[in-house]
């Protein structure tokens, strides 16, 4: 009997991820409060605007969730996003149709993702260093190519397609919702995606029971870079232009969303896409509430930073009762 009871309690416990549920509670409370402050808060337009404003961070956060679960980190996304937006615009201005253009840009991003993992293994260095170096290099390249201006005047056929709305929603939002649903199902169900949890949880054991850890890590870094490219393309859809300054501290906001959502950076193999989406909604909500309530938005950084630390502290203290993480030596 005791055996039965503990597993039941356990299943509830792991469903009810304490940290994510604490954030959901916060979201509900803030939404209710804000709806008093500003009645249009829960209007369809505002919700859409709120989600629209976090589409690039959202798409990138999906990729980052897998990277962090596998025990790595990918800062190059903040360089890849503007890079792909710029190259995509240049291709279209050079006459390439927007669909093949998209394919070329996604392929380039996949190559960057592969380079990330290749250098990580060759130079035997923490992914933080390599992806930071790639970010710096790409940002420099973006600045030089655009001469610090912005690229616009895209061909007509693209201008039309970028205005198309599906079910009343703009394409970037639709793409994000589709990708989020897809990644959530794949990470929960697909066998290859599940391998990321093994590699994150116990890489040595994963190797021993026949999981090709290297191939999984290549996949993780490539999908992160490709999603960053999708975010870049969606930015071009949104603004019909590209500028080197896009996504200048996008990686910070995306990582905050992933971590607030319950994905752990000290214990490998812990995290869900659902948690990341909750983290994303939370940050978008805080950002949006500040905008609408007119408080001095400088407080927003202070509050977001404090909540990031608070949410992870709650997670650490409650879920793991302070058990030291297996990999607490790694940063």
């Amino acid at each position: 009997m005791r055996q039965k009871m503990s597993s039941l309690k356990n299943r509830i416990l792991c469903r009810l991820d304490i940290q994510a549920s604490a954030v959901v509670l916060l979201i509900v409370v803030i939404s209710i409060a804000m709806s008093f402050v500003y009645d249009g808060f829960l209007s369809a337009y505002n919700i859409k605007a709120m989600l629209m404003s976090y589409v690039p961070e959202g798409i990138i956060a999906l990729g980052l969730t897998l990277v962090i679960i596998s025990g790595g980190i990918d800062l190059s996304v903040a360089g890849v996003m503007p890079f792909t937006a710029i190259v995509y615009c240049m291709l279209m201005k050079a006459g390439v149709h927007y669909l093949p253009g998209m394919a070329i840009v996604l392929a380039a991003a996949a190559a960057i993702g592969a380079v990330n993992n290749f250098l990580r293994r060759l130079l035997d260095v923490h992914p933080f260093i390599i992806t930071m170096a790639v970010q710096l290099t790409l940002k420099g390249f973006n600045l030089v190519v655009t001469g610090a201006g912005s690229i616009s005047g895209l061909p007509e056929n693209f201008m039309e397609i970028s205005q198309v709305r599906i079910l009343g929603l703009k394409i970037p939002l639709v793409v994000f919702l589709l990708l989020a649903a897809l990644w959530m199902v794949l990470l929960a169900k697909n066998r290859f995606f599940r391998k990321v949890y093994f590699v994150g949880g116990n890489p040595k054991a994963a190797e021993l029971c026949g999981i090709n850890v290297n191939r999984v890590m290549y996949f993780v870094f490539i999908q992160s870079a490709v999603l960053a490219a999708v975010a870049g393309i969606m930015a071009v859809f949104n603004y019909q232009a590209a500028n080197y300054s896009y996504g200048s501290n996008l990686d910070t906001r995306a990582i905050t969303a992933v971590v607030v959502g319950g994905t752990s950076m000290t214990r490998g193999g812990i995290g869900k896409i659902g948690g990341t989406i909750i983290g994303l909604v939370f940050i978008a909500l805080v950002y949006n509430s500040f905008l609408l309530s007119g408080i001095n938005t400088y407080y927003q950084d202070v509050i977001t930073g404090a909540f990031l630390i608070g949410a992870v502290l709650i997670g650490e203290r409650i879920k793991y009762r302070g058990k030291p993480g297996k990999k607490e030596d790694k940063s």
Binding site: Q3, S6, S7, N190, R191, F192, E207, C209, G210, G268
Partner: protein
């Protein structure tokens, strides 16, 4: 007897010296073949070669007659060879079912895992092994013993005909061992599976195996079958001529007064009212299988883990140690059994490792590290314990198991302890070093230190302890005086009178 597996002239070198030399033996189809040998005889290395983890430097492996070359675990599984490793390789963040079917979960045509079917299959496999566990349970919440069984279930679930078990019973209770043997026999009878079973516990070997091969210091000694399998023959072949005096190493000095007393130590879910007293010049042995709560109780005693309740009196005064730092300062030192995670700074050189625990002693008035004094101390221990190679700046990770244990001993002894707690001191250590450690422990006790020896190796307990505290499943089962105590009496205490009669 047609040989399903033939090993011809297998040789393996690690860092320049031979770990296995010219090993040739045959494993019959459908038999339980035990491979025994003292620690460090090369058993695990040989099994890792068959299991495709290591590649041999010399020699050939033949399966069903034709030569096979294995590079990794996947190829071994394809050849029908599965290995259950000594160190646990489970992902404790995932469920039991996912661990069993790691990487090969049943999927539908979209590549999506069929959760229900996976749990059913996992349930079936667990059922076969007589375990009532919910496949959706998180492995992290299971006991070490249960995780070991999940590990075995995982390997058996591959369609293999050769199953290698590398010291599987080290953390199982008697009931679980009986279950395992029953499962092994059933696998051989019903599925014609060949099982290679590695152990250094002779009673288990005699109970289960059809044939026994013996390794000593990396060489193949011989194979016994049928009636030839007797304890004395096996010991003789394992230890060879060098008279391994298993006899009790008696203390040479009179019993000192009690220096440390622990009463009623409790920690929820780990151990209940553990009590013992440590006397100077004496060795108290704590015997019990892994998972009996011995290490946990000591870690709580020295402040590395939480202690719910209990009294600890040291040198007459009651104390509550808050951290290993305080324990070391008071002269209570713990030598961990987990060298890799808690014992040594593997990437760092020997001198750093040895002085790590006594940095205070080597700090000058100007807060700098007195390198000369530290160097001498480290040099002293390298000579005293004959650490090979006797170089100061080689990383600890590159040393063999035995030498790493010597480095750990130097680190611990450098703090000149009053109470020395050693946990599985000779685990994964070759025979030569094992002897030196045993004699050293006795000399340390004679020099006035109170020694607490934790070990799951009964011969070692009997050889060294003046008194034996038996623990099982978190409780103290009895305190026995070691006046020519026999293994049977200790095992009786472990399981309590009635169980042994079955």
């Amino acid at each position: 007897m047609d040989a399903i597996l033939k090993l011809e002239g297998i040789g393996k070198m690690f860092g320049g010296n031979y770990v296995l030399k010219d090993v040739s033996l045959e494993i019959g189809r459908g038999e339980v073949h035990a491979v025994i040998g003292e620690n460090g005889a090369g058993k695990s290395t040989l099994m890792k070669i068959i299991g495709g983890i290591y590649e041999p430097n010399e020699g050939v492996i033949r399966k069903n007659g034709e030569k096979i070359l294995l590079h990794n675990a996947i190829e071994a599984y394809k050849q029908g060879i599965g290995i259950v490793h000594q160190e646990l390789s489970v992902a404790d963040n995932l469920t039991i079912a996912e661990n069993i079917f790691a990487g090969r979960q049943p999927v539908n045509r979209f590549g999506f895992v069929r959760e229900k079917q996976m749990c059913e299959d996992a349930g079936k496999i667990l059922g076969e092994m007589g375990i009532r566990l919910d496949p959706r349970e998180k492995v992290g919440n299971l006991s070490v013993a249960m995780q070991q069984i999940i590990e075995i279930a995982k390997v058996v679930s591959h369609r293999i005909d050769v199953l290698i078990l590398d010291e599987p019973t080290s953390s199982l209770s008697n009931k679980e061992i009986a279950h395992l043997f029953e499962l092994v026999r059933r696998l051989c009878r019903e599925q014609g599976m060949t099982v290679i079973f590695i152990s250094h516990k002779l009673d288990e070997v005699m109970a289960i195996s059809d044939r026994v091969s013996v390794l000593r210091n990396g060489n193949f000694i011989g194979t016994l079958s049928g009636e030839e399998i007797t304890a004395s023959r096996m010991i003789h072949m394992m230890v060879g001529d060098q008279l391994d005096s298993r006899s009790f190493l008696a203390p040479k000095t009179p019993e000192g007064e009690v220096i440390l007393r622990a009463e009623g130590l409790c920690r929820e879910g780990k151990f209940r009212d553990v009590s013992f007293a440590l006397q100077k010049n004496r060795i108290l042995g704590i015997f019990g299988l892994i998972g009996a709560g011995r290490t946990e109780s000591i870690l709580s005693l020295i402040g590395a883990d939480r202690l719910d309740s209990g009294r600890v009196t040291y040198e007459g005064r009651e104390i509550r140690l808050s951290s290993p730092k305080e324990a070391i300062a008071k002269g209570i030192v713990y030598l961990t059994e987990n060298r890799r995670d808690l014992g040594l700074f593997l990437p760092k050189e020997i001198s750093d490792n040895v002085i790590a625990a006594s940095l205070g002693a080597f700090t000058t008035k100007r807060h700098t590290v007195d390198r000369k004094k530290a160097g001498e101390a480290v040099e002293g221990y390298i000579q005293k314990l004959k650490i090979q190679p006797p170089v100061m700046d080689k990383p600890a990770g590159t040393y063999s198991g035995g030498n790493q244990q010597k480095i750990l001993f130097s680190k611990v002894l450098l703090t000149d302890p009053k109470v020395l707690i050693v946990d599985e001191p000779t685990k994964g250590v070759d025979i030569g070093v094992k002897m030196t450690i045993h004699h050293m422990l006795r000399d340390l006790a004679d020099s006035g230190i109170a020694v607490l020896l934790i070990s799951s190796e009964l011969p070692e307990i009997l050889k060294l302890s003046d008194r034996v505290l038996v623990m099982h499943e978190g409780e103290c089962r009895g305190l026995l005086e070691n006046r020519d105590l026999t293994e049977r009496e200790v095992m009786a205490a472990v399981y309590g009178e009635k169980e042994v009669q079955q």
